[in-house]
């Protein structure tokens, strides 16, 4: 397709008559007997110029470049949905750079006309040029893009299907000109000096974008007012285009194009520049004081609808799925939240932990600090405290027991010596219970000084206190003889503990020296050993 050549020809023609744009409609390759966008040249207003290099280009080259950029923009927008991540090159146009005229030109790229439909179609079928004056006032029936035009506030367009190059060879994809019975159509928009200000509220319900609230009035583009003269207005009544469908097409196209664009073109529309809106712009802190609910229940009506109304039916006689045999017929999808599974598990774990912390808080006399670390510290302290107290209490208890035991022992001992025989068994029984505590008693009475001990006889001395511990074989009357022996030594035995098990007598004697002379432990030992048949074990 000789695109470049065609475009240049178009460009030449359009610029020569100073029209804003020209469009070539090709016979579509995909749809037989339908006309679609072939090529175009845009010569109208430009808002933002984007070039890669700041070269000084000639006017014609600028125009060509612009047309190319517009075409690229259209293609990228319409392909935008399939590849949303594709970035346009920085020098490419983006939607907000375009003027309304350019938008019209862009949207035209999407139009397809059947034979006989729309201006290009009718021109093709009739084989005659069509002039349409004041096209913005034309009904959609005649000029299907009038809604588009209106919306973009185009004014006073001229349409003509006209010749460009009469001698162009007829190539298959497109037809030119009256000569070949085909059609080429040039359309142009013309800005008049006296602009009709169009109501932007026209067709507002049908359209998506209110792209400009400022009427275009750059009328000084070298417009040629001379072309107001009217050619034939050929209002051929061909197929009446459903205005709704034409409008729908526009809507669909714009929404498709704009959807892929990240710029919120609709933003200005919502930013309440439209004074007719009932909504007021949001101001931070400008909010009305909250109005107290008359009734205390939030979401009252919504809750009634959801909770109470279903139960009004049949006074709540509704079936559970199982009763209704739904269980067999219905599917029970397994909730598949593998994405959130670990999150949920983690959350449950945290909840359990929090629960335990609450329990702990109630047990531990902690301070009012709510955080978990303080609570744990207090718990540790409390535990240590408690352990210490337990230790103290246990030792106190042993002491008390020991004292009780000692007193009893003395009493028993006295009984025993007075009535040795009879009480032996009895006392044995009593005394055997003390055997368990013997070790503790020994510990308590331990005084570390002047020790002299053998395996079965221990004599300890501390100043005037003497402790004798030994074990020996028991026989009748041995206890009396031991006490005798000790009394010779001038010892005051103030505490005696003895027990007999399996014929072995164990004795612990605490004594004090009566007089000033202090006997050595060895002396005590010898004295004991002199007791007749005292066999230490």
């Amino acid at each position: 397709m000789a695109t470049g050549f065609l475009r240049k020809q178009l460009a030449l023609a359009v610029r020569n008559i100073q029209w804003s744009y020209g469009i070539f409609w090709f016979i579509s390759a995909s749809q037989p007997w339908a006309l679609e966008w072939g090529d175009g040249y845009y010569n109208g207003d430009i808002r933002t110029r984007k070039t890669v290099q700041p070269l000084e280009l000639k006017a014609d080259q600028l125009g060509l470049q612009r047309s190319e950029q517009l075409r690229e923009l259209y293609e990228s927008l319409s392909a935008g949905e399939s590849s949303p991540q594709a970035r346009r090159p920085s020098a490419a146009l983006s939607p907000e750079d375009l003027t309304d005229t350019e938008w019209y030109y862009l949207v035209c790229m999407s139009f397809v006309f059947d034979i006989g439909q729309g201006l290009p179609g009718r021109t093709l079928s009739s084989g005659q040029p069509i002039w349409l004056c004041n096209a913005q006032y034309a009904e959609s029936k005649v000029f299907s893009r009038s809604l588009v035009a209106k919306q973009l506030e185009m004014v006073s367009p001229f349409n003509s299907s006209d010749e460009i190059e009469p001698n162009q060879p007829a190539e298959d994809p497109f037809m030119i000109d009256g000569i070949n019975g085909g059609t080429s159509q040039l359309q142009s928009w013309q800005f008049m000096d006296d602009l009709h200000s169009l109501n932007s509220s026209d067709c507002i319900s049908q359209t998506l974008a209110d792209l400009g609230d400022v009427p275009l009035c750059q009328g000084e583009n070298g417009n040629n007012n001379g072309l107001q003269e009217v050619g034939e207005c050929n209002q051929t009544k061909q197929t009446i285009l459903d205005p709704v469908n034409g409008d729908l097409h526009y809507r669909v196209i714009l929404s498709a194009l704009l959807k892929s664009s990240h710029q919120l073109i609709l933003g200005p529309h919502f930013r309440n520049s439209n004074k007719e809106s009932n909504f007021v712009s949001w101001k931070t802190n400008g909010l009305v004081k909250s109005q107290k609910l008359k009734d205390g229940t939030p979401q009252k009506l919504l809750k009634k609808i959801l909770f109470e109304v279903p139960r009004m039916h049949d006074k709540g006689l509704f079936q559970s799925p199982q009763d209704n045999d739904v269980g067999d017929a219905a599917w029970r999808p397994k909730a598949d939240d593998t994405c959130g599974n670990h999150v949920l598990l983690e959350r449950r774990r945290r909840e359990k932990i929090n629960e335990r912390f609450t329990t702990l808080k109630s047990l531990v006399p902690s301070n009012s600090k709510a955080d978990q670390v303080s609570l744990l510290d207090d718990t540790i302290e409390y535990l240590r405290d408690l352990l210490r107290r337990i230790g103290e209490l246990e030792s106190c208890r042993e002491l008390t027991e020991l004292e009780t035991r000692t007193k009893r022992t003395i009493r028993d001992h006295v009984e025993q010596t007075s009535d040795n025989h009879c009480n032996n068994k009895v006392t044995n029984g009593k005394k055997s219970s003390y055997l368990n505590k013997r070790k503790a008693c020994e510990d308590i009475n331990c005084v570390a000084s002047n020790d002299s001990s053998t395996d079965n006889l221990t004599v300890r001395m501390n100043n005037k206190d003497l402790t004798i511990v030994f074990r020996c074989r028991w026989r009748d009357g041995i206890l009396f003889e031991i006490m005798n022996a000790l009394s010779i030594l001038d010892l005051d035995c103030h505490s005696v503990q003895s027990s007999t098990i399996d014929g072995i007598l164990s004795m612990t004697i605490n004594s004090k020296y009566k007089g000033s002379s202090v006997a050595k432990p060895r002396t005590v030992k010898q004295a004991l050993q002199r007791v007749q048949s005292l066999t230490f074990v």
Partner: protein
Amino acid sequence: MENSTQESHLRSDNSVTYESPYTVYAMAVSSTPSPTNLNHQSIALGSFLEDYNNRVDIIAFDPDTLSVKTHPTLSFYHPYPPTKLMFQPNRKSSSSSSDLLASSGEYLRLWEVRESSIEPLSVLNNSKTSEFCAPLTSFDWNDVEPKRIGTSSIDTTCTIWDIEKGVVETQLIAHDKEVYDIAWGEARVFASVSADGSVRIFDLRDKEHSTIIYESPQPDTPLLRLAWNKQDLKYMATIQMDSNKVVILDIRSPTMPVAELERHQASVNAITWAPQSSKHICSAGDDTQAFIWELPTVAGPNGIDPLCVYSAGSEINQLQWSAAQPDWIAIAFSNKMQLLKV
């Protein structure tokens, strides 16, 4: 200082108010022009009376003259308040001169709205015995596949109906507790919210599995309403019981909401996405305010502020933003229905 927002509903040059004889809850805006007059839009209003006899009225809204007309015969009785009303979406205007309206109560009912009368078409009842039924809390009409309606019920199930044949396509036990709302995403994908506090997505091609994409932070706090963004199917919005927050979810990142819109001063009653823009959502609540929010790509440090606000006379219970009239938002509060220009 007296703010104009307080009495903005009196700016009656643009808003249109209809006062109904009874409290209004269910509301639907037709997707096609009224059969009587192509410029008019039909709006169905369901009453809320704690009584057996409730009514549904159809009124015609004319955006050009900013007026609302009632028609005495375009009205029918409904047993107990209808929990939801909806017109068939994307109904081809050329198909017939009538419109289809669905209502949910103890069953799903279909009605044909003609020029001057309403004919009951069918009652869709899935229970095997005549005594029991599972009352419906909500339903949604699939706009890609218009013969498909999904209903949600307090018996924890969601039922998918083929309304052309009048049979059940399938029934799913969707949640552990009552299901409160349902919304279609694509032709075969829907989502539902429940008293168990979860938002779950179901695909009819794989009925064995569902995906939980959000659970309310306090366990077992019911989620009452759900709205799926038809312009951008990644996003959903939901509201929790007794909460003033609108939770925006992205289905690609489950359990973590994308945004929480917290500017209402009382609990939110209704949410609806803009029909023509993927970034706008409207919410209304007990604080008598309706906010329009624009979701930015990056949220500011203090959260997201609404774009604009409207104050009604009392708590707003219902909100509808129709694709057929994208410049108008319909709200219902106490016994009034109001159409607001955006």
